[in-house]
């Protein structure tokens, strides 16, 4: 049994008061006269036994009243924390094995100390109850005992997932008493941004708060190439993040590559990006590790593995169907400019557009763009068919030069996904501009335009377009229901048709801001986006994942196809921990009901203004009322 306010137990000393009063002689006596005391003596003699019994009961009832009052204010409750053999309870002991738990304390691993602490908690639990041990980071892994626990550096934290797992586990338990012990540093980064539903957490939750690693930390937060496109001198960017006030001003940053090369620099310990220039002879995979040599409390995130494929730019052949006298009048002009645009200076476009009037050698080409090309010769069609079937991509921009009859032959060759039915004359354009009304935002080519805030394709208005009859997939339609963008396929390659030229003769859409991202998305789709599954014919990708308890692999580079990069969770590098009260408040955890056994390092604070489960004050109040009635009855009865 426990007491919420044990100080009131001192009131039990007041039980002596009725005893003293009972023993004290009654001094308040009024003197009266009677003719004889004979009958008084007779009455007293007769009622002596009853009188004694009545006085005794009266004394006992008064003592009981005082006792019950003291007990009532002391607020006793039945312990429902750690179950004992008689109670048959179930206890879950969850050990936090996230990265923030792994730091050195006087040359001893804190994670090891925490694990030993959890083992002691389990050992000190009374026999008879059921105990389940588990470790958690982002996920929860149950163990037979904590000795099996393998500490993985850099695991992230998700308290909500741990608490949900515990709740679900205990909901399934048939034990009458359930208890959860959470051994953790209560790092703030483990708190989800949004409030997490903690329904059902009405069991006793005992928090064993371990020491946090400190108030400052420096980490290598990312390593990336400035651009994945090959250049002879590759710019590698290493991101540093520093929290708090470091004890050192600078440190050495070393980037080591698997091919043996390494670069180092002394950098100030402050948040920022450090650039390294790496000469590259040819495109290929760059793998390695960036390491910050600094003695900070949490060293796991001082290293970061990286692997990225440096690829040559994609060669795009732009076949201009109607080269004009001025360059900006050429059909491929705007397309060429869109493909060459880079985000920053010194950045390299992933595309290498080449303008031509003829279908040149397509051996190094990935995409062929036919810009208002009137027709194709049989040789060209044969060449293109082989190109596309082998995995190349083809995109049409239809314009006023297009020969509808010639395109029927192209359709028959499978190089055009549909048939053209109408050729509007230069003067016979749409009565009014027809915007793109609907588009398939689930398609990978148009996923970027899912949200109109990110890109509104309806800003693209065609003054004229071809009418395409097709059974192939229509990616976008105009307001007059005519297809604006159609997708087809031939062998391993993809074909896209845009029913409008990429010039300003049939609309001003090349000058719309949406033009550039649309062109880049269409061409990126044609090249093949990053896909973890990896499509045949697409460049190999690298899968990045955090350290995972179930996976069990520490940070490093694994595999080749696909290659997996495992790095520590950056959030573990953010110092700062919650107090127990803050943690309880965030997750709405009930207060503990007993002083826990075993883990002597921390003491649960009891909040007097909150009722415990299984408090006994109601029963004491009823007993007090009964005693008051009894005392009143005995006192009045005479």
């Amino acid at each position: 049994m426990g007491w919420v306010t044990p100080l009131f137990l001192a009131g039990l000393a007041a039980v002596a008061i009725p005893v003293i009063i009972h023993l004290l002689p009654n001094r308040r006596q009024t003197v009266e006269t009677l003719g004889t005391n004979r009958f008084l003596r007779l009455a007293m003699r007769q009622g002596r036994r009853n009188l004694r019994l009545k006085n005794l009961l009266l004394l006992l009832s008064r003592m009981a009243i005082v006792s019950l009052l003291a007990l009532l204010f002391a607020r006793p409750f039945l312990a429902e924390g750690l179950p004992d053999a008689e109670k048959e309870g179930e206890t879950l002991v969850l050990l936090d094995v996230s990265g923030s738990m792994d730091f050195q304390m006087l040359d001893v691993s804190h994670a090891m100390l925490a694990r030993e602490q959890a083992e002691r908690i389990v050992d000190n639990l009374p026999e008879g109850g059921k105990v389940t041990s588990a470790v958690f980071g982002k996920k929860v892994v149950a163990l037979d005992d904590f000795g099996e626990c393998k500490l993985l550096p850099g695991v992230g934290t998700d308290f909500a997932a741990a608490l949900r797992w515990a709740r679900d586990r205990l909901d399934l338990s048939e034990k009458p008493y359930k208890h959860l012990v959470l051994v953790s540093d209560l790092q703030k980064s483990g708190i989800p941004e949004k409030q997490v539903e903690t329904r059902g957490l009405d069991i006793g939750v005992e928090l064993v708060k371990t020491q946090a690693y400190g108030t400052w930390n420096a980490q290598v937060s990312f390593v990336r190439p400035q651009t994945p496109v090959y250049t002879e001198e590759k710019l590698i960017e290493v991101g540093l993040t520093v929290y708090g006030h470091p004890s050192e001003a600078q440190a050495a940053l070393i980037v080591s590559f698997d091919h043996g090369q390494s670069m180092s620099r002394t950098v100030p310990l402050e948040t920022g990006i450090v650039s390294f220039y790496l000469p590259m002879e040819k495109p290929g995979m760059l793998k390695g590790v960036a390491e910050l040599e600094v003695k900070d409390p949490y060293v796991t995130d001082n290293r970061r593995f990286f692997a990225f494929a440096i690829k040559p730019p994609v060669k795009v052949l732009l076949v201009d169907g109607t080269p004009g006298r001025k360059h900006y009048e050429q059909d491929a002009y705007f397309l060429d400019a869109a493909l060459k645009v880079t985000k920053k200076n010194k950045d390299v476009s992933p595309y290498l557009p080449c303008r031509s009037r003829e279908l040149d050698d397509l051996s190094d080409t990935r995409i062929v763009a036919l810009c208002n090309v009137a027709s194709l010769s049989a040789d060209d069609m044969e060449k293109l068919a082989l190109f596309v079937s082998s995995g190349g991509s083809l995109i049409y921009f239809l314009g006023d030069s297009v020969d509808v009859d010639a395109y029927r032959r192209i359709t028959a060759a499978g190089l055009f996904p549909g048939s053209l039915d109408r050729l509007p004359s230069g003067a016979d354009l749409f009565r009014e501009d027809s915007p793109i009304l609907e588009w398939d935002a689930s398609h990978r080519a148009l996923r970027a335009f899912k949200n109109r805030d990110m890109g509104d394709l309806s800003r693209i208005r065609f003054r004229g377009a071809f009418s395409i009859q097709t059974r192939h997939k229509v990616l976008a339609r105009l307001s007059n229901r005519e297809p604006a963008i159609v997708e087809g396929a031939l062998g391993k390659g993809r074909i896209i048709v845009v029913s409008n030229p990429c010039n300003r003769r049939w609309g001003d859409w090349p000058q719309e801001r949406i033009f550039l991202p649309l062109i880049r998305e269409l061409f990126a789709y044609l090249v093949g986006r990053t896909d973890s599954a990896g499509e045949e014919g697409t460049p190999r990708e690298v899968a990045a994942m955090p350290v995972d308890l179930e996976d069990g692999r520490p940070p490093g580079i694994y595999g080749a196809d696909p290659m997996v990069i495992i790095n520590p969770d950056n959030a573990e590098g953010v110092p700062g921990a919650l107090t127990e009260a803050e943690f309880r408040k965030h997750f709405g955890l009930p207060e503990p009901v007993i002083k826990k056994q075993g883990a002597s390092e921390s003491e649960e604070g009891l909040h007097e203004n909150r009722e415990r489960n299984r408090e006994l004050w109601r029963y004491l109040a009823v007993a007090l009322l009964v005693c008051l009635f009894a005392e009143n009855y005995l006192a009045d009865r005479g």
Partner: protein, 304 residues
Amino acid sequence: MKASQNPNKAAPAAADPDLFMAMDDLKLAAAGLVEGTLHGLHRSPYTGISPEFASHRSYVKGDDLRYINWKLWARQDRLFVKQFDAETNMNLYLFMDATASMGTAHGPADKWRYASRLAAGLAYLALKQRDAPGLCVFNEHLSRFVAPSVAPHQLDMITTVLQEAAPRGETNLHAAMQEALSACKRRGLVILTSDLFDREEEILSGLELVRFHGHEVVVVQVLDPWERKLPDRGTYRFRDLETGRHLVVDVQSIGEVYEKTVASWQRTFKRACEELDITFLSCITTDPLKDLMVSFLSKRMQRA
């Protein structure tokens, strides 16, 4: 009767039990008590001891119609009532217990004051009926004796003795009655007014002795209200007025038992008196004297 010292004080009503207690003049109190009592009755309450016919006398208003000689009326056209031996000069012996226990006062007056007013009233009534009242006042022994007489100053003598007496001494009713009997030459009606706080066998043997001497006996027990029923609550140190001993009592704890004990004792006494052909009356000092007189007279009428 001495007038109330405070003229502003409202005069008590005739039915107020405190009325006769407040009167210092016993004669006046007695007269008022008797006249007030008789006024409420519709026939003369007088009855003699013996029914032996002695002579006739002229009818006076209030005489019992049962004693009218109708034959004589028929013959002489005048009303005559029969007189019996006891009709004239019946001796009324007022035995008054003036022991210390009669000094208990939790009502309008102590028991002695109450008893003395009753005695005065009975004396007045007796004289009115041409009986001869006498008085025996005893403490541990017979302290004062007034021989029965119908003399005009007899009431004065009786009331004077009653006013001069004060409760004192321990009760020894048997010895006192024995001593009083020696002074009572002629048979009569003995009215013992006492709280009867003596050993029962002693009292009954004394009464038996009185009966043996041929007297008719009426016992009027006068108790203090607390002597019949204790207050509801409180702790008291009760002093026995005769022995002087103290007893501390929490009345709440024994009140019910005490009341039952007293009632049982009274019933026992009453049964014993009935066996001796003694009329037993019991009252407390808060009972109206007039009611007691009526009760007494009713008993007398029933007996007759």
